[in-house]
């Protein structure tokens, strides 16, 4: 049953994505930027998806600590790993855009910089998990770290924004600026497509994690004999 849901979502995501790509490609070029503006339709939704993922990871971590159910731990790691991939998409697309528009691969734009710090934070989550062998301890400590990381995220955003207002730098797309109506629609639809992808990938990873737990259990049982 879950397999069917996954395939259904994947199909829907694929259809939406293809449709969006077509719509995006026929949009008229933006006056200042030329072709490259189209990257925003992936750059922004990827970030939104990643941020949502981190919120889900927080909830899953807290639920694990409260209920001690390993499903929540598997969910937390799945959602964080996929989120890290989406955040990487955000960073890479941002970097490409910066290279085309400003001629540099990296400028310390506040949003990109914050995204980078968040990426490092959640990469730390995965590194911590790797260093812990015993599953219950791993899940507990990872949950604690995830709570610390999530608490830090808004503080990171604010502090880096203030830091950048001290030395004004070229700012990325102002999302609240003059956004043509046809852009907003395409952006929203792509957001939905990416969310669907996120969900599917998370489910796949979740299944893998649960299979890993079963293997672990069997191995321990055998060793105990």
């Amino acid at each position: 049953m879950r397999q069917k849901v996954m395939i259904g979502m994947l199909a829907l995501a694929a259809i939406l994505l293809v449709r969006n790509l077509y719509v995006i490609s026929v949009l008229p070029d933006e006056v200042n930027q030329g072709q490259i503006f189209r990257i925003i339709f992936f750059h922004v939704p990827a970030a939104v998806a990643a941020m949502t993922g981190s919120a889900v990871a927080l909830i899953a971590s807290v639920l694990f600590l409260v209920k001690k159910d390993f499903f929540y731990d598997s969910l937390a790691v799945a959602v964080t790993e996929v989120g890290l991939a989406f955040l990487a998409v955000n960073l890479v697309t941002g970097s490409i855009w910066a290279r085309v528009i400003w001629g540099v691969w990296w400028a310390w734009d506040p949003r990109l910089t914050s995204a980078l710090v968040c990426w490092v934070l959640y990469a730390g989550y995965l590194i911590l998990r790797q260093a812990l062998e015993e599953p219950t301890q791993r899940a507990t400590f990872a949950a604690v770290y995830s709570i610390f990381a999530f608490t830090d995220v808004p503080i990171v955003y604010f502090s880096i924004r203030w830091w950048r207002t001290l030395h004004p730098q070229p700012v990325f797309f102002n999302k609240n600026g003059s956004f043509p109506a046809d852009w907003s629609a395409a952006l929203r639809l792509n957001l939905i497509a990416l969310f669907l992808f996120y969900a599917v990938l998370t489910m796949i990873r979740l299944r893998q994690e649960q299979a890993q737990r079963e293997i672990d259990y069997l191995r321990r049982t055998v060793h105990a004999m």
């Binding site: 001690k68 390993f70 015993e134 599953p135 219950t136 737990r213 079963e214 672990d216 259990y217 321990r220 049982t221 105990a224």
Partner: protein, 234 residues
């Protein structure tokens, strides 16, 4: 009818999905001395750590004198002696005991410290740094630390293993005194005679399950492997 000192109800401990302890249920009335026996890896240490409040059971409840050992106050009445002596090398004997006296909220930590140093034959080295003590002296100091605060329940993890003769004698005398005062003792052991002599009851943990729990009988004393043969699996 004596009150229940240690109560374990349906305790499971999981490492991931693997149950290290399965559905352990038993209770120890006040004044008893329970010897926990079992092979290495059977779960004795895990169980003692849960009873001491260090570790969280996956399922089930434990109560020491009616309260969960996870509550700080309940641990006031528990004395724990684990594999490690839990004594600071850089402090002196009396500094160590004073430290624990204060942590356990004793009204007069200094008095209690001195009393126990005498009881364990360490009053002469009371200002000596533990780093310089011999092994037997450290073990005696560990016993002092565990009993300093007059705990009603004692949890001991293989206390007689690797003790020298003097330390064994001190520990046995201290435990006999504690039992005579109505305290409760739960100690895990590798069926050493010294431990079985003190025990009133015996429990066998096999592969995480409670395979046997009953009074200590003369057969057990004369043949420590008796319980294993009957209730263990090999």
């Amino acid at each position: 009818m004596s009150a229940v000192a240690v109560d374990c109800a349906g305790v499971w401990k999981f490492y991931g999905d693997f149950p290290a302890l399965r559905d352990i249920s038993f209770h120890v009335p006040e004044g008893q001395c329970l010897a926990l026996i079992g092979r290495n890896g059977a779960g004795k240490t895990t169980l003692l750590r849960i009873l001491g409040g260090f570790s969280r059971a996956g399922r089930g409840e434990t109560k020491i004198l009616g309260n969960s050992p996870r509550e700080a106050d309940a641990r006031r009445r528990i004395g724990f002696l684990g594999h490690g002596i839990a004594i600071y090398d850089e402090l002196s004997a009396i500094e160590n005991l004073r430290l624990f006296g204060k942590l356990y909220g004793l009204a007069n930590p200094d008095d209690a410290a001195r009393r126990w140093l005498e009881r364990t034959g360490l009053e002469r080295v009371r200002d000596g740094l533990v780093r310089e003590f011999s092994r037997g002296m450290r073990q005696r100091l560990a016993v002092a630390r565990a009993l300093l605060h007059d705990p009603a329940v004692l949890l001991l993890d293989e206390p007689f293993t690797a003790l020298d003769d003097r330390a064994i004698a001190v520990l046995q005398s201290v435990l006999r005194e504690a039992l005579a005062q109505g305290r409760t003792v739960v100690m895990s052991t590798h069926q050493l005679r010294e431990a079985l002599e003190l025990a009133t009851h015996v429990a066998l943990i096999n592969r995480g399950r409670l395979a046997f729990h009953g009074e200590r009988s003369p057969e057990m004393l004369s043949d420590p492997g008796w319980v294993y043969a009957r209730y263990g699996d090999t």
